[in-house]
């Protein structure tokens, strides 16, 4: 295996490990806190739930994309 490829794979493995820890924290903290509120919103205020749902998924996409990109850049930079 080429040295560059091995380094990329190593950086990716570290990124995945750090990311997994962050995601597990996210599961138990954020989703646990939001769960009941979203459940009540879904059963009582459907229109507001629809707006919150689309904002949450879009917001998470932007935040997680930024986090993984920064994480990858940081680990790549340290590798060099």
């Amino acid at each position: 295996m080429k040295k560059g490829t091995a380094k990329s794979l190593q950086a990716f493995a570290i990124e995945l490990a750090v990311y997994s820890v962050l995601v597990i924290c996210y599961f138990f903290l954020v989703l646990h806190l939001l769960g009941d509120w979203l459940y009540r919103l879904e059963s009582q205020h459907r229109y507001m739930y629809a707006a919150v749902a689309i904002l949450l998924i879009a917001g998470q996409a932007v935040v997680l994309d930024t986090v993984t990109t920064l994480l990858f850049r940081f680990l790549r930079g340290r590798g060099k």
Binding site: V52, I57, A58, Q60, D65
Partner: protein, 306 residues
């Protein structure tokens, strides 16, 4: 983990892994991946209506990540994507109306299943023939390996037909500098409408129809078709998510967990497109509609809806 909205217990790791696999497919092929996500949620006991709506919400998040990544690589034609979104939303409404008409006639499952099988098989056979022929002629023309930016220059065995379609002059003609084409607005809207029609009729984002249509009918280079399709999916799937959420078909908590895996998968998929030429991406696309067809055949033969 308990998801109170859909009243189901699902392991979050399972959801993240499913999201990861769909993310790779989405980033590489520009598809939503509903043919995997729907059955994967059903296997965990999620009701069919929640599976459809939640899948759409997850597609929005995954497509935002993949489209952002493709945009940094210059693979998104925003102007084309916006026109496509208009046609897709119109087509999706038409597809939904068609389903309602078939429901009233009482034969919705049989008709939709057979249409799906014919369409999926047709796409797979056509793309296998076209990409195979293009790759063979490329090998005869130039034996050198194609890498990096060179790999975005696209050739297709279907090229002469595409050029004839582009020459159809129906006002207004639209110039798309990013894609390097000039084409009638009506052709773009028609392609998007048909994609949307299948999306409303067969479910999911219908990327398996739209991505090949953009390449073969509009003449958009494959890399740009993948990126632009993802951008367009963000708009049309957002519309679908809102309408399904209002009808009570979206468990956003499941979508958020699935999306954590999809973020990493989508980034891998996008990076991978840089290492493959257009015809190779199209050849690798062939198994996707075949998997879709196999799922429909399975449901027809067993009577179980995955």
């Amino acid at each position: 983990m308990f998801f109170p909205i859909s009243n189901t217990h699902i392991n979050p790791i399972y959801l993240a892994v499913v999201g990861f696999i769909i993310g790779i497919l989405g980033g590489f092929f520009g598809v939503g991946g509903s043919f995997i996500a729907g059955p994967a949620l059903r296997l965990m006991g999620v009701d069919w209506n929640y599976a459809v709506g939640t899948d759409l919400a997850h597609i929005v998040g995954k497509s935002i990540v993949a489209a952002r990544q493709h945009r940094t690589l210059g693979n998104v034609d925003l102007k084309l994507g916006l026109f496509m979104a208009i046609g897709t939303i119109g087509g999706a409404e038409g597809g939904a109306q068609l389903i309602q008409a078939l429901k009233r006639a009482g034969n919705v499952n049989t008709v939709v299943s057979w249409v799906a099988i014919v369409v999926y098989l047709g796409i797979a056979v056509f793309m296998l023939w076209e990409s195979g022929t293009t790759l063979q002629s490329d090998r005869r023309r130039s034996p050198r390996k194609i890498k990096g930016a060179e790999s975005k220059k696209d050739r297709s065995a279907f090229g002469p037909v595409t050029q004839r379609i582009q020459r159809v002059e129906i006002w207004p003609m639209i110039t798309l500098p990013t894609s390097g084409i000039r084409i009638s607005l009506w052709t773009i809207l028609l392609v998007a409408f048909i994609g949307g029609l299948f999306s409303g009729f067969l479910g999911g984002g219908a990327g398996y129809i739209r991505m090949p249509s953009m390449v073969y009918v509009l003449g958009v280079p494959t890399h740009l078709a993948v990126g632009t399709d993802l951008f367009e999916i963000v708009i049309s799937a957002s519309y679908g998510t809102i309408t399904h959420a209002i009808k009570g078909n979206v468990d956003i908590l499941i979508a958020l967990v699935m999306h954590t895996g999809a973020v990493v998968g989508a980034q891998i998929g996008v990076v991978a497109t840089q290492y493959f030429a257009g015809p190779k991406i199209r050849l690798a696309f062939v198994p996707l509609p075949l998997i879709g067809a196999a799922i429909v055949v399975y449901t027809l033969m067993t009577g179980h809806k995955l």
